[in-house]
Amino acid sequence: MAQLARAGDEAAFAEIVRRYSPRVFRFASKFFRQRSEVEEAAQEVFMKAFTQLGSYEGRGSMEGWLTRITTNTCLNLLRSAKRRPELASADLSEDESTWLENQLSDVAAERHRASERSLVAADLADRVLENMAPDDRVVLTLIDGEDASVKEVAELTGWSEAKVKVQAFRARRRMRAAVEKLLGKKLPPAIAGS
C-alpha cells in the first residue's frame, strides 16, 4: 500500500489515512484535548507522511513510522503554542480542589464517583501540563502516563536515551513542584508537621 501511495496512487494513500487515523488520533490525544487540536495535528501528520513516503523504507511497521511523525508533529505544535501562566491554588475550581483533597485521603477518594473523578482529574492534569515545557510534557505523558520505556521514547522523539532520562528526571521535579504548590495547605497537619 505504501509503495502504491508513493507512486502517486491517491486511493492507496486514502486507505492508509482510513486505516491508521484511529491510532494517530489516540496518540495525538495524549498531547491535545480539544477535538479541533487533535484533528489539526492528525491532518498535519498525514500531510507530512504523504510528502515523506519516499523516506519510508518499509523495514519497520507503518504504524511505528506514523507514530514517530505524530510525536514530532505534536512536539512542534506544542512548541509553537503559547504557554499559559503558572497555575496557582487560587485558580482551581471547587471540583479540582475537592479532587486534590480526596487524593490525600484514600477513604474519601473511594467515596468519590469514578467517572466524575476522571473528568476532573483529566481537566486538572491538562491545566498543570499546559504550564510545562513541551519536552517535559512529552516525557511525562509517555513515560509516567503511558508506561512507555526510555528506549521507546528515545525512538519516538529521536533523542538519545540519556537525554530522555535527564529530561524525565527534571520534568518529574517540575511537575512535583507544580502539584506541591497547588496542594498548598491541603496537606494534612500530621504530614506537614512531621
Binding site: 487515523s21 490525544s29 498525514f46 492534569a125 505523558t141 503511558e146 518529574r172 506537614a192
Partner: protein, 162 residues
C-alpha cells in the same frame, strides 16, 4: 535514608514503576520526614493526574480521511498556481522591459533628430534651442503667441508653408 535520597529516587523513576518493597521503604522514611512526605504525596498525585489524562482519547470522525485528501489535493494544486504566478510575473517583466526600451528609443533617438533640425533652424535665426528654452519665460512675459515662436524658430518652414 537521607531526605534527598527519597526525593531524587522518586524523580528518577515513574511512580507507577515502584514496587511494593520500595514503597514500604519510602513510607517508612516519610513517616519521619515532612519534606519527603510532602514530595511523596505530590508525586503520587502527579502520577494519578497523568494516568487519568492518559485514559482520554479523541476518535476520528468518519469524514476525516475525506478532509485529509481534500487538503492534500489543495496543497498539490498550490504548485501549479505558483508556476502560473511565476509565468505571469515573467510576462509582466518582459512587457516592462519592452516599454522601457521603447521609452529609451523615444527619449534618446527621436529627440536627437529634433535637435539637428532645431540646430538648422537656429542657424538661420541666430537662436539656439537652449536659448529658446531658457528664454521661454521672456517669451511668456512678452505674451508671444505660439505662432510667433514658431516663426522665430522655423522661418524657412514658415516661409515654405506660405
Amino acid at each position: 535514608m537521607k531526605e534527598n535520597h527519597i526525593i531524587e529516587f522518586l524523580e528518577s523513576r515513574s511512580f507507577a514503576s515502584l514496587n511494593e518493597s520500595e514503597r514500604v521503604v519510602i513510607q517508612a522514611h516519610t513517616a519521619n520526614c515532612s519534606s519527603c512526605a510532602r514530595a511523596y504525596e505530590a508525586t503520587k498525585i502527579a502520577s494519578a493526574l497523568l494516568r487519568e489524562r492518559a485514559v482520554e482519547a479523541v476518535e476520528p470522525s468518519p469524514f476525516f480521511h475525506t478532509r485529509v485528501m481534500a487538503a492534500l489535493r489543495e496543497r498539490q494544486n498550490e504548485v501549479p498556481a505558483f508556476k502560473r504566478l511565476w509565468q505571469a510575473a515573467g510576462a509582466l517583466v518582459s512587457s516592462m522591459t519592452a516599454t522601457v526600451a521603447l521609452l529609451a528609443v523615444l527619449s534618446f533617438v527621436v529627440p536627437g533628430t529634433q535637435t539637428s533640425a532645431t540646430a538648422q533652424a537656429s542657424e538661420s535665426n541666430g537662436y539656439t534651442a537652449e536659448e529658446v528654452i531658457l528664454n521661454q519665460n521672456d517669451w511668456q512675459d512678452e505674451q508671444a503667441s505660439d505662432a510667433q515662436v514658431l516663426t522665430t524658430l522655423y522661418p524657412a518652414d514658415d516661409a515654405g508653408a506660405k
